[in-house]
């Protein structure tokens, strides 16, 4: 496989609700090209397969930050489970746990702000462009 030759450049965040993904974003290193279709699809696959593991890990701790729940090749899936049972899943190639924790914490705050908006209904896709911009800014600060 070429996985060792191409250390994962990009990070992939998905916010998953009860039935569907609510939000997704890919964070690229400066100058990196967006992932090809095949890679994106593989990312989805890895995250999707991690979902079941999240449910298992959720019962083993009282923390919201569930750390790395799944590893596939060089890719790791870190998860944060909110009190409202919304999952933040980040696909990365091995990152400092603290920075991921901080990242999730800030995304959580942004998420709470969105969910306080009377025009946002719980467990529906997040379309707010300012949320997107803020999440990307947070990602730049902690992850890239």
């Amino acid at each position: 496989m070429t996985s060792a030759a191409a250390p994962n450049q990009s990070l992939f965040l998905v916010i998953v609700g009860k039935n569907e993904p609510l939000y997704e974003a890919e964070f690229l290193k400066r100058g990196a090209a967006p992932s090809s279709d095949a890679v994106t699809r593989q990312n989805y696959f890895v995250l999707h397969s991690g979902l079941d593991l999240v449910e298992n890990v959720a019962w083993t701790t009282n923390q919201m930050f569930l750390k790395v729940v799944d590893k596939v090749n060089h890719q790791q899936v870190s998860t944060f489970l909110t009190a409202g049972n919304i999952k933040f899943m980040l696909l990365h190639g091995g990152k400092n746990e603290d920075s991921i924790k901080n990242f999730f914490q800030e995304v959580y705050e942004l998420y709470v702000k969105v969910s306080m908006n009377p025009f946002y209904r719980y467990d529906t896709p997040i379309t707010s462009s300012s949320f997107d911009a803020r999440v990307r800014a947070v990602a730049r600060r902690y992850l890239l």
Partner: protein
């Protein structure tokens, strides 16, 4: 002649009027019970979305409902305001006098904020009006309007006026003081303006006494 003298005295009093209004405002603010700001904002948000759901896409009807609710609150609020005043109310003999009282005392008492006032003196053929400019809007602290309410769907389409309640409130309150006004949000931070501006224009000073519909046979 007499009216000219009256207006010049009130213009002189304008400066101290403002200071007095600010002082009354904070005094009143200290006396009224407080509610949690987030709960307040969320409750209003839930109300607006519920009205939206009830009336579907009829934005005009939604705006009107919110305005109506504000109106019926306004006619009561003015009584509460006057009842809670510890000193005699500064007289609002002229329409323009109500601006400072609204912005500095009433807004402070009910919302905990003050607004800036810009007075537009009426000229020939144009009625008196003023603008209340608020940088904070306690009703909308979490609100971000979805795209379909941000800009009109087409030419002449109505826009959701999230803050219609304010207009109704002011309209209702001033109606109890025998002033029929027209009240409109001309700037809104929800639409990307940097401040909120409510324009209040005097339409008519209603004559003292019962209206025609209440007159006895």
């Amino acid at each position: 002649m007499a009216s000219a003298a009256a207006s010049s005295t009130s213009a002189v009093a304008g400066g101290s009027n403002k200071g007095a209004a600010i002082a009354t405002g904070s005094a009143l603010w200290n006396r009224v019970p407080k509610a949690n700001a987030e709960l307040f904002a969320l409750t209003y948000g839930a109300l607006v979305t519920e009205v939206l759901r009830d009336f579907g896409d009829d934005i005009n009807a939604v705006n009107e409902q919110l305005d109506k609710m504000g109106h019926s609150m306004g006619v009561r609020c003015v009584d509460e305001y006057l009842a809670k005043l510890s000193t005699a109310a500064p007289p609002c003999s002229k329409f323009l006098d109500t601006a400072e009282v609204l912005a500095k005392s009433a807004f402070k008492m009910f919302l905990g904020i003050t607004a800036d006032v810009v007075i537009h003196e009426g000229t020939e053929g144009k009625e008196d009006s003023y603008s209340l400019i608020m940088t904070d809007n306690p009703l909308a602290i979490f609100v971000e309007l979805p795209d379909q309410y941000q800009s009109p769907a087409g030419e002449g389409q109505p826009l959701l006026e999230y803050n219609s309640l304010y207009c109704g409130l002011i309209r209702g309150a001033l109606e109890m003081l025998n002033m029929r006004v027209e009240c409109k949000f001309v700037k809104s931070t929800l639409r990307g303006d940097d401040v909120n501006e409510i324009k209040v224009a005097l339409k008519e000073v209603v004559a003292e006494g019962a209206g025609a519909e209440y007159q006895e046979e």
